[in-house]
Symmetry: none
Subunit: 190 residues, 2 copies
DNA sequence: ATCGTTGGTGAACAAATGTTTACCCTGATT
DNA sequence: AATCAGGGTAAACATTTGTTCACCAACGAT
């Protein structure tokens, strides 16, 4: 009956083991005496969209970790956290990362981009294949030093602009190597 | 020998399937004709610390997605503390959401929290069960209007403080309803 | 030249796994 | 009172899986 508690147990199992339980293990987990009960449970979880099967029929997690209702805007009227609409459920992994193979994570240290809302301790996602456009925030190596700055190219001359008046603009002379473009900023409290 | 290329293939497999390959699959992946070759490969990957076995002897990833000596970026001082290869292992869903059942998403509109690095258009994760502490950013309904502000309670008197000098502090008189605590801020460019 | 190691093939096999089929109980519906 | 669906048990079974054993080719070091 309670798929919620089942999900909870499966989640903790997956967190620990980094894999989904077998039917036998799932049965144990749920105190079922029969594998088949686990099998049926899995079916239900698939039909409710929490799990799915790969090409070989094996169970893999789907929405297992991100079933978040996405309600409207803070401003007006707002929210009794309404009915959870499946269509609005979001996996952050999919939402944030378009190119998993070329994306990596950086921990931000320093306050040179604070006026862009990037604080010390934030996490930043970098795509190293994405083409750089003016106004993008990039991670770059200038004359041997790595920084994170706004990127501006005017008449062929690149300027790296910090988002903090305390720091200077940079006009790279010798080397300028772009590690990638900041595609996302994440901050977690607590 | 090519444990590097093996790791690469295993990684992409894991990213797609969200599970490790069986020995048969690993053999196929590596163009081995024999499962045993895969078995031995796995042994090696275990002894080199990339994989490990759980209590039941099943393979689980260990250092599979751990920080790699990626050229350049790690080296010189600035922005990076650690670089990690991105994987579904570090699922943002898991990382960001502790209590899936009580967490929901809001789109931020307005600039009243801009000095806290929360900009118009950002996405914010709210936990509605988490206890509110002083200094937390909360989503609250004051006298019928919903806002996002810092929460301060001094001698029983609650003050809601914006992170923008343009706006006034709020001393709720009548109703004060807290929808939840901001646990995370997400901004996506492009 | 030979020896030992590394990395692979191939076959074999017990145990575990996914899945099906049949049956049962309980609470709700009619 | 009869029926029905949901959620569980129990048993059965083909397939797959992990693992072992024996063997082999290539190669570097001795």
């Amino acid at each position: 009956m309670n798929t919620t508690i089942a999900l909870k147990k499966i989640r903790t199992f997956f967190r620990k083991q980094k894999r989904l339980p077998t039917y036998q293990e799932l049965a144990d987990l749920m105190d079922f005496a029969s594998k088949n009960a686990a099998f049926k449970l899995a079916q239900k979880l698939i039909s409710t969209g929490y799990l799915e099967r790969d090409e070989k029929g094996k169970l893999i997690p789907k929405r297992l970790f991100a079933p978040l209702p996405h309600s409207g805007i803070v401003a007006a009227g707002f929210p009794t956290v309404a009915e959870e609409e499946l269509s609005d459920l979001v996996s952050f992994d999919e939402y944030l990362v378009n190119n998993p193979d070329s994306t990596f994570i950086l921990n931000v240290s320093g306050d040179s981009m604070i006026d862009a809302g990037i604080h010390d301790g934030d996490i930043v996602l970098i795509d190293r294949t994405q083409p750089v456009k003016n106004g993008d925030i990039v991670v770059a190596s200038v004359d041997g030093e790595w920084t994170m700055k706004y990127y501006h190219k005017i008449n062929g001359a690149v300027t790296l602009v910090p988002a903090n008046k305390k720091y200077q603009k940079i006009h790279p002379k010798e080397t300028l190597e772009i590690a990638g473009v900041v595609i996302s900023v994440i901050r977690k409290y607590h």
